[in-house]
Symmetry: C2
Subunit: 260 residues, 2 copies
C-alpha cells in the first residue's frame, strides 16, 4: 500500500522544482521499468500492481530498493499517463545531470537550442540512441529531461543517452577552440543540400527551437550550414519540418554516408 506521504511525494515529481530538490524522477510502464533494470540508474522505490509482484525481474533485487504493492486506485493517483500501468519506479537523477563539467564526445553529438515540446525532446533522444549518438547538449531553456512526457517519448533511450544542460554558445565556442578540424553543423532553412553533404563521424549537429530555429549567435559559430530540401510541387514558404523529424532525417543521412 502507498502511504499518503508517498503519494504526495510522487505526485510532486511532475514538477521540475521538486524533482531537482529531491533528485528523483518517476518512471512509468512495464517497458520502461524493464529497461531501467538494464541501466545503471539507481532505483529508490518500485511500485507494482498485484499482477506483476512475482515477476522474475524483481527476484534478485537489492535490499536497498523499497518495493510497494499498489492498488489500481493508488496507481491511478500517482500516474501521469491516461492509462496507468502496473509498474512504476522512483529513480535517482544521475549525478552527471548536476555536474557543471561536460566533456566533448569523441563521436558526433547533438546540440539542442531551447526545444520546448517534451515529445520532441524525447523523440530526439530516442532517435539519437538508434543512430548511436550518445551525447546531447541542450541550451538552458530547453524543456527538462525528466519531464514525464519527455521520459515517455524516449521509450527507454533516456537510460542510454547522456543529456546535459549548459550555456550552448559558450559550449560551442569552446568546442571550436579545442577541435578546429571538427565540423559544427547548423540545421537552417538556407543551408547546403543535406543529400550532397558528407561529414566525419565527429563534431556537433545543432538543431534549433520549434518556432525560432537557432540563434544568430549559434549560426555564426557553425562551420557548416545544412538544409533538407523540399520535394513538394508547390512552393509554400510556410512549410517546415518538425524538429524531431528534421533531426532524424539529418542523422540518417550522416550515418548512411559513413556506412557506405
Amino acid at each position: 500500500m502507498l502511504s499518503k506521504n508517498k503519494i504526495k511525494f510522487i505526485q510532486a515529481l511532475s514538477d521540475k522544482k521538486n524533482r531537482l530538490e529531491s533528485r528523483s524522477f518517476l518512471i512509468e510502464g512495464e517497458k520502461m521499468v524493464r529497461e531501467l533494470f538494464q541501466s545503471g540508474f539507481n532505483i529508490q522505490t518500485l511500485i507494482i500492481s498485484a499482477k506483476f509482484i512475482n515477476d522474475p525481474i524483481f527476484a534478485g533485487i537489492s535490499s536497498n530498493v523499497e518495493i510497494i504493492e499498489a492498488s489500481e486506485n493508488e496507481l491511478e493517483r500517482i500516474s501521469t499517463q491516461k492509462t496507468p500501468q502496473g509498474m512504476m519506479a522512483v529513480v535517482s537523477i544521475p549525478d552527471y545531470y548536476f555536474s557543471d563539467k561536460i566533456s566533448f564526445s569523441k563521436n558526433l553529438e547533438i546540440a539542442l537550442y531551447d526545444i520546448q515540446d517534451p515529445g520532441n525532446l524525447g523523440t530526439i533522444i530516442r532517435t539519437a540512441d538508434w543512430f548511436g549518438v550518445n551525447q546531447i547538449v541542450c541550451h538552458k531553456q530547453t524543456v527538462d529531461l525528466f519531464n514525464p512526457k519527455v521520459i515517455q517519448s524516449t521509450m527507454g533511450a533516456i537510460f542510454r543517452v547522456h543529456v546535459k544542460y549548459t550555456d550552448l554558445p559558450q559550449y560551442i565556442a569552446e568546442f571550436r577552440k579545442k577541435n578546429d578540424s571538427k565540423p559544427v553543423i547548423a540545421a537552417v532553412l538556407d543551408g547546403k543540400d543535406i543529400y550532397k553533404t558528407t561529414f566525419l563521424e565527429q563534431g556537433i549537429l545543432m538543431m534549433g527551437n520549434e518556432s525560432k530555429g537557432l540563434s544568430g549567435e549559434l549560426i555564426k559559430l557553425a562551420t557548416h550550414k545544412i538544409s533538407i530540401p523540399r520535394f513538394g510541387s508547390t512552393v509554400q514558404q510556410t512549410e517546415s519540418l518538425n524538429v524531431a523529424v528534421a533531426t532524424a532525417i539529418i542523422l540518417s543521412e550522416l550515418k548512411r554516408k559513413l556506412k557506405s
Copy 2:
C-alpha cells in the same frame, strides 16, 4: 461577443462524434488561420481578438462567413491549447472525408495502420506535405484527422494533404489487383536495408501502429519489406524508432534517390 450557445457548440468540437454530426472542426492560431485562407476549405465562423480584427486577410472575405470579435476570456473558454491565440475558425469538414470512394494516387501514397497518437498522425501529414506526398490512407481505427492535436501538429499541412479512412487490407488488395507493377512497401523490423533500396515514385508505403506495427494480413499484401538499420554500438532488442520519425527517414530516402 460569443454567445453561450456558440461557446457550447465550439467546445463540443473537441469530440469526434460532435464533429461528425455537425461536419465541422476548429482551427486555432494565427499561422493556421492564415494557411486556411490559402486553402479551399469552407470557413463558417471566424473568432478573432480585438488585436486582429482589422488584419488585412479578413478584408475581402465572403459575406457568408460569420465574424465574431471575442474577448481573451471567451477565447480561453473555446481553446484546446495551453495559450489560446487571437485567431480561430470553425471550418466545414471537406466532402472527400465522408465519401466512400478513394481513387489511387498517381504518385507515392502513404497507408497508416491504426496510428494512435495524434501528434504522430499530424507530424506524418506535415512530413508527407514536405516530401510532396498528397494522399494518406488510414485504417479505420487510426486517430481522427480532426482531433485538435492532430490539426495542430500538421502545422497547416492538413489543408494540402488528402487523408482518408477505409478498410486498409481491402484497399491494398484492390490496389495490387489494379497496379501489379507498382510496389506496396511494408515498413517492418526485418526488411531490406532502406539505404540499399530504390523504388519508383509510385506505389504505397505502409506504416504500422506504434506498438504492434503492421498486421500480418497487411505484410502479406506487400510486394517489398524494408527496414531502417540501427547504428548504435550495442544491440538492444527493445529499441525502435517513433513511427513519424521512421516515416520521415523512409520518405527522405525514397525521394533522395529519385532526385539523384
